[in-house]
């Protein structure tokens, strides 16, 4: 153990602990900006500097290791002066428009300024870091004037996701993080996962807002505004509205959405179950008939673009199933419109997602028919939370409302789509029973649960030893894909989710740190456990839909509505 003194207080920490960690142990708060608990240490913002006795230079507490006998001062006059001067330099480069910033209230720069009580006008003239305002991406908006060049976006994009869409350009005063090859983000290799938004301390990277079209359509009496809500949303919405991570709010969420103005609120769990039947049938077919294996899941649009860009030769491995969002959209604009006797263009099909890549997915030209989009707007959890707040709804005391029929019934299997391993577990629950004809005795398949980056499991199904793998985070996907590409795996089925932790870690959720993920994950499986039906193929509403409309899984109509094709995007790398 290392013994040192901070602000006169003795403290003991493990060897290798930083001064910041030691101070935290004493409940001494040191402001930080480039520091992120889930990232490498950068030590570039210099806000967390502290004074070390006997040292002329101030040292960054985020990187400096605690050593025996050190005497540290975290808020000495020398430290305060330097810290305020540094903050002043940052503020003189940062857009002065907090009042209409997306991150006002959750901005780390704002909170550092507030806690340091920096209430003066900087002594330097304001010079924007860049006038560049990049709204080319359907998912992520970039406002370089708010960038403080901490590098957290680049780290998550390059080191965790291995996409390398953002890169440091220029030097000195001109240094910036920009999309590679000087392209607008929307024309770049960005896969729209939105993890950079989660990492950004300020409003420099935000989720592209689509609430306006929804608000406008509420006012149009000729339109039916229909929402589908993804499984993860009920886990993270309450958190976005100030409740602790893992607060489940399904019933309140539906009530709030009805009060906001949605005419119908459906459950994407329904098409998650449908996905399992389609994808499970496809898997069985591939295994039995010598199809291309391993089959790769296709629910995650960031993963799909990643595969299309970096592994186009593996596209035949992707399941042809549309994502649950797009299956839902297709059903809304065909079956549901017919059922209601209205024109598909009179439905505003809105999906509420924990995801930013879904905003990209809705724009894919191959999804839709006759020029009519299946999804008209995708709202992130952050956007829905904002709509609820701005409608004057107090969320915590709302009563519960159930989802609307006919797409209101989902199973536990659909529910767990929200976390890494969920699609796989749901698929195994169904595929096992379809293949063996036997009831699965223990349906909690723990081997595929948890936040670990790469998980494996296997199951014996009528003599076939089915091997599966589950990954989350694109860096892990890359590891597995390299093995698949080299022919070095014997998996039959691989679930891939782009975001660390799966959809509950998605870019459209409230800003997270990994420490919150366990609570979100627990909530997912809590929901699954509570539901009376936990296997997709037992969903009576899904069965009814097949009987009434679709025919059979992978049948003619299913194929037309629920399956899709992919595009080789490797040209983006040139």
């Amino acid at each position: 153990m290392i013994k040192l003194t901070i602000d006169g207080l003795p403290v003991e920490v493990e060897e290798g602990a930083t001064l910041l960690e030691a101070a935290t142990k004493l409940d001494i708060h040191i402001p930080t900006l480039c520091y992120h608990p889930d990232q490498n240490v950068k030590a570039n913002c210099r806000i967390c500097l502290v004074e070390m006795e006997g040292n002329k230079l101030l040292v960054p507490s985020c990187s400096y290791p605690a050593q025996n006998g050190m005497s540290i001062r975290t808020h000495s006059p020398k430290v305060r002066r330097a810290r305020r001067n540094i903050l002043e330099l940052i503020l003189a480069r940062h857009a002065q428009d907090c009042l209409h910033c997306d991150r006002s209230g959750t901005c780390e720069l704002q909170s550092v300024s507030e806690e340091m009580h920096f209430v003066k006008i900087p002594r330097y003239p304001y010079v924007a870091r860049s006038a560049e305002s990049d709204h080319s991406s359907p998912s992520v908006a970039r406002d370089s004037a708010k960038c403080i060049t901490c590098g957290r976006c680049e780290y998550i994009c390059s080191e965790v996701q291995t996409v390398h869409a953002l890169s440091k350009t220029g030097r000195g005063f001109e240094m910036q993080f920009r999309p590679v090859y000087n392209r607008p983000l929307g024309e770049s290799i960005c896969v729209n996962c939105g993890q950079c938004v989660q990492a950004c301390p300020t409003g420099a990277l935000t989720v592209r807002d689509e609430t306006q079209v929804v608000w406008h359509t509420f006012a149009d009496p000729g339109k039916t505004v229909v929402a589908q809500v993804a499984p993860a949303v009920r886990i993270t919405l309450a958190e976005a509205l100030g409740e602790p991570p893992g607060s489940i709010s399904t019933g309140r969420m539906i009530t709030a959405m009805k009060r906001v103005g949605f005419h119908k609120v459906f459950d994407t769990d329904f098409t998650a179950d449908l996905t399992i039947l389609e994808e499970g049938t496809e898997l069985i077919d591939r295994i039995n008939n010598g199809g291309i294996l391993p089959m790769l899941t296709s629910c995650c649009p960031a993963w799909i673009k990643f595969c299309e860009t970096f592994y186009p030769e593996l596209l035949p491995h992707l399941s042809t199933c549309k994502s649950p969002q797009q299956m839902f959209g297709a059903l809304l604009k065909t079956y549901y419109a017919e059922k209601l006797g209205i024109l598909p263009q009179d439905i505003l099909s809105v999906s509420v997602m924990p995801c930013t890549a879904k905003k990209f997915e809705e724009t894919r030209p191959e999804l839709g028919r006759n020029g009519i989009r299946d999804i008209d707007a995708v709202l992130s959890v952050q956007e829905l939370a904002r709509m609820i707040r701005s409608a004057g709804i107090r969320f915590d005391t709302l009563p519960d409302t159930p989802f609307d029929a006919p797409f209101g019934l989902g199973t536990g299997a659909g529910e767990i789509f929200g976390s890494t391993g969920g699609v796989m577990e749901a698929a195994l629950r169904t595929v096992y029973e379809l293949v063996t004809g036997k009831a699965l005795r223990n349906i909690d398949i723990k081997a595929v649960r948890g936040l670990e980056g790469i998980k494996e499991a296997s199951a014996d199904m009528n003599g076939t030893h089915v091997k599966v793998a589950v990954t989350n985070g694109l860096g892990n996907a890359r590891k597995i894909m390299d093995l698949v590409k080299a022919g070095k795996t014997d998996y039959h089925f691989i679930e891939i989710m782009a975001c660390p932790g799966g959809c509950i870690g998605g870019g459209g959720n409230p800003i997270k740190e990994n420490a919150m993920m366990t609570s979100r994950l627990d909530a997912v499986y809590r929901l699954d456990k509570e539901l009376p039906i936990r296997k997709s193929h037992e969903n009576p509403a899904v069965k009814a839909l097949y009987e009434e409309y679709l025919g059979e899984p992978n049948g003619h109509r299913s194929h037309a509505l629920l399956h899709t094709t992919y595009i080789n995007r490797s040209g983006l790398l040139e």
Binding site: N44, R81, A82, N85, L89, R171
Partner: protein, 419 residues
């Protein structure tokens, strides 16, 4: 009048730089042979006895650096010669490398033997391309004679040296930025600790020594640490290779014992030209100090300079006569650092240009008295808060000129207020 004490420059103009035979005739590679017969620890002990401190500017004791790397665990270790001599006005490393490259390579080999490295890199300033063929030819000749390469002089010790061209950035003279550059990334400094001695090139323990430092090593081994320690002043032993530039009559690279008085050096080399008066000195390069003519009585060694709130740095002495305006010089220095800041840390990225803005305001007659406070406030923050030596020292010229030439600023502000 001073006479030079040539240790580092011992072979200057006496040999064909690339010739291994010429170098050997002057005793070259005997020190390496001698070192190879010693225990590595004994080599380090000789460095300790010599008191040699790094000549790149920071003055860290060589034996300490080597001991750290020697003791650090690692399956591979590296020795890097920092030849990224980017400090404007400094030419000593260029002269050493082009005049006697073997002395540096031999120093690297001894260092490698002492710390247990088998691979070395010489990181050469981009703007010295004409030196590359000299270095390559010298390496080839030395390898041919078995002085470098595999099983040097029949021993178990092998050491390969590779010359790497810099990327043209001043900041790569900072050892961790240099390492990043060799690894193929943007030349940006890393935070320290961990220091390169423990975690350097490719994460391995790495000794980074300056050209001049390394050129001293063979002589220390040959003649003993004790002999070396008697040259110069206590705690700052040996000689220093100075670069004289600016308005001095005799410009060039000269070697004097540590502690030699600035006044003597100045006078020996003819002072400023007739009809002009001495205004001051810029010591240690652009990142160094501006002192006035009255501060000329200054022993030029690391500690004395520090005590006088000055800096020895790279040993560059830029003489300024009364034709030059100090504000103009400081402004010019700041444009250099605006250009050379890598942009990684906040105070350097944002600060240099802000200092320049304030200086321009003052020199153009728009200055206010508060600007002096702001200058001091910002410059002193950069001094203690920046991530690397570049940012920590880019504003030293401003701070020292405020202290040593206060009238320059006051007059400019008053002139503006009158107008």
């Amino acid at each position: 009048m001073l006479t030079e004490t040539r240790i580092v420059l011992r072979n200057m103009d006496k040999i064909d730089p690339v010739s291994i035979m010429d170098y050997k005739k002057r005793g070259g590679y005997q020190p390496l042979r001698k070192a190879l017969a010693m225990k590595p620890q004994d080599v380090i002990d000789q460095m300790k006895l010599s008191g040699l401190r790094g000549r790149g500017g920071a003055g860290f004791p060589v034996w300490k650096k080597w001991s750290i790397t020697s003791a650090a665990p690692g399956d591979k270790k590296y020795v890097i010669c920092n030849a990224d001599e980017g400090e404007p006005g400094t030419n000593k490393d260029r002269v050493i490398l082009s005049g006697d490259p073997n002395s540096v390579f031999e120093g690297m080999a001894i260092a490698a033997y002492a710390v247990g490295a088998e691979k070395g890199y010489l990181y050469l300033r981009r703007e010295y391309p004409y030196i590359t063929p000299i270095l390559e030819k010298t390496l080839e000749n030395a390898r041919g004679e078995g002085c470098l390469g595999s099983n040097i002089m029949g021993s178990q010790f092998s050491f390969e040296i590779e010359v790497v061209s810099g990327g043209g950035a001043y900041v790569c003279g900072e050892e961790t930025a240099l390492i990043e550059s060799i690894e193929g990334r943007r030349g940006e400094p890393r935070f320290k600790p961990p220091y390169p001695g423990v975690q350097g090139l490719y994460g391995k323990p790495t000794v980074v020594n300056n050209v001049e430092t390394l050129a001293n090593i063979p002589v220390i081994i040959e003649r003993g640490g004790k002999w070396f320690s008697e040259i110069g002043v206590p705690n700052c032993t040996g000689t220093k290779v100075f670069t004289l530039c600016g308005n001095i009559t005799q410009k060039g690279v000269f070697e004097y014992p540590m502690g030699t008085n600035l006044k003597d050096i100045y006078e020996t080399h003819g002072g400023v030209k007739d009809n002009f008066d001495l205004r001051g000195f810029m010591l240690g390069g652009q990142s160094g100090n501006l002192i006035n003519a009255g501060q000329i009585d200054l022993p030029m060694d690391i500690d004395s300079c520090q005590q006088a709130e000055s800096v020895l740095g790279t040993g560059t002495i830029m003489v300024i006569d009364d034709r030059h305006d100090i504000l103009d010089i400081v402004e010019n220095i700041m444009t250099f650092f605006i250009e050379e800041s890598c942009g990684k840390c906040t105070p350097c990225r944002e600060g240099n240009i802000r200092i320049y803005e304030i200086l321009r305001r003052i020199s153009s007659g728009q200055g206010r008295m508060e600007d002096l406070t702001l200058l001091e406030d910002l410059a002193s923050t950069m001094n203690v808060a920046c991530l690397c030596g570049l940012g920590q020292n880019s504003s030293v010229a401003v701070i020292t000129s405020l202290h040593n030439f206060p009238d320059v600023y006051l007059k400019a502000i008053e002139r503006g207020q009158r107008a």
